[in-house]
Amino acid sequence: MSVVREIAAPSNQVATFDLLRVPALGRFLRWRYSRIAFQVPLLFVGMLMVAHAFWGPQLAPKNLAALLTWVHFRGLVVVVILLVGNLFCMACPFMLPRELARRWFHPRWNWPPALRNKWPAIVLFVFVLFVYELCDLWSDPWWTGVLIVGYFVAATVVDALFTGASFCKHVCPVGQFNFLGSALSPLEVAIRDKDVCTHCKTHDCIQGRRDHSGETDMSTLKRLPVIQRGCELELFQPNKVGNLDCTFCLDCVYACPHDNVGIMTRLPAAELTISGTRSGVGIFERRFDLTMLVTVFTFGAVLNAFAMISPVYALEQWAAGVTGLRVEWPILSGIFIVVLVLEPAIILGAAAAVTRWGVATREPILGVVNRFARSLIPIGFGIWLAHYGFHFFTGFLTVIPVAQNAVIQAIGQPLLGEPLWQLSGFSAAIVFPMQVGFMGLGLLGSWIVAAVIARDMSPTRTWSAFAPWAVVHALLFASAYWIMMQPMDMRGTFLGA
């Protein structure tokens, strides 16, 4: 039996802190152009990165595109999600050219129903992880630049053709990463008072606000010009649960005529314990595409970290020896299939089988997997944090000498001073305990979420339902811990040296 809990209504439960009520900051954030104010500086940084990628030195450690993408951007995304929320999507510069394009192109099509899910994003997510390893993107400024430009083009084209935020919701792999990760964030865009929504007639937060000045016939409403759009991600505030699919774009905040939407504090990961229908998402525990997204997110975290230590070269060499292959892509594909498909299928399938047996249910195995899938998010995010946090915390200061060097190379004058190459970041000895802490928190979060899901599934045999998943989480933690213990060995050569 499953217990579907009441949809969270933060303001009616506990007194929460609302970021939009903070004096100056709140006022600024409620201002209609606050999002653009964040996007413009990032667009500027993005353009500098692209320029440096194509015309700067083709040495990753001296190139701003490679450095800022693979050390700072990735590191800051996970750290900011952990400490605040999905601020990268909020400040996403890829959305600016799209806004501009929409002044001329009014998207005519709705996103195809067959693709109204996460499958396109899952394919792209795996594709990016694969290309990253195959082409050693981290060591290649030029291709990093191509990736950034490709992203701008893809976002603009998709959203020029299709209505709503089709790119964010169904295509963008970074967005999906942020959506899943921000389940662990302390902040959430949510309503302040449920009653206000109950009495609301216009639902501007989802419908958008139209200019009906001088218009009295409300039947023509749909044809009036939109002066403030509603949620393009199809999240209807009073029924919205958690951060999944929310880009923090604040359109709902700008649109609500009753000033009833805030950015509220809440207990991180608690949203993962909520079952039932979510606005714009449906029922998480019945969506196999979400299960697959979570799986790729979690096992991909292990794979991406595994690719940075020596045993992966031993493994590739061994596979090359056995198969006689001299090119990397088939071997890498094999590793990807094993880690992202076979391994999860076996491990999650086995856990579900044991749970079924433990609680004596007839629910199909896949149903049980779908139910528990979201308990993987905290440990998966913990592993990403540990890995990207490592690069970020050990190297965040390197941007200073690299920028100083770039200025010298570009204009021949040390305007920012001579490069301080001795700057790097914290030593690995300090960062390692942080990594273990991140993963430990992730493990704890996964256990708590799984325990609640298990209780909902079987109030009488909670432990039998929970135990197999606790083992899965512990296994993920142990393998990631082992990886982080290994000396880093960042190679890009296959069968080289």
Binding site: F54, Q58, P61, L134, G395, R491, G492
Partner: protein, 130 residues
């Protein structure tokens, strides 16, 4: 494997834009640069580096100021530097610190007695983690 053809094309464009119009004082392209490490293959830690410089007809080049800068292929890591001293004619030695296992490259910069400057990038792949 890398998609290096286009990458190289990009690099060439970049080089052409950045350095294309500058002519070097002396013809350094003919200079032979050879960098070796002990132990070989190199391991993580401070290890000894030996660089030999030879000009036309393999005659050793003396009195050159030589500096090595080791970097990882991955961004975000502190580079290590080494100023080499001449141990025998055309043979320069020093210590370079490989702080992490993986793929490195070493930038060799040398100031020749005639005032010319020599710059080379030498890949040092697979520094062994310990």
């Amino acid at each position: 494997m890398r998609f290096s053809t286009l990458g190289r094309a990009g690099l060439l464009i970049a080089l052409a834009l950045f350095a294309g119009c500058r002519k070097s004082a002396s013809d350094t392209a003919a200079i032979k640069v050879d960098l070796t490490f002990a132990p070989s293959p190199p391991t993580v830690g401070k290890i000894s580096a030996t660089l030999t410089l030879a000009g036309k007809n393999n005659q050793p080049l003396s009195n050159v100021e030589v500096r090595l800068e080791g970097n990882m292929n991955h961004a975000g890591m502190k580079p290590s530097f080494a100023d080499l001293s001449e141990e025998a004619p055309g043979r320069y030695v020093g210590t370079l610190d490989f702080t992490m296992g993986g793929d490195w490259f070493v930038l060799v910069t040398a100031r020749l007695p005639d005032g010319g400057r020599l710059e080379r990038k030498i890949d040092v792949l697979g520094v062994q983690a310990r």
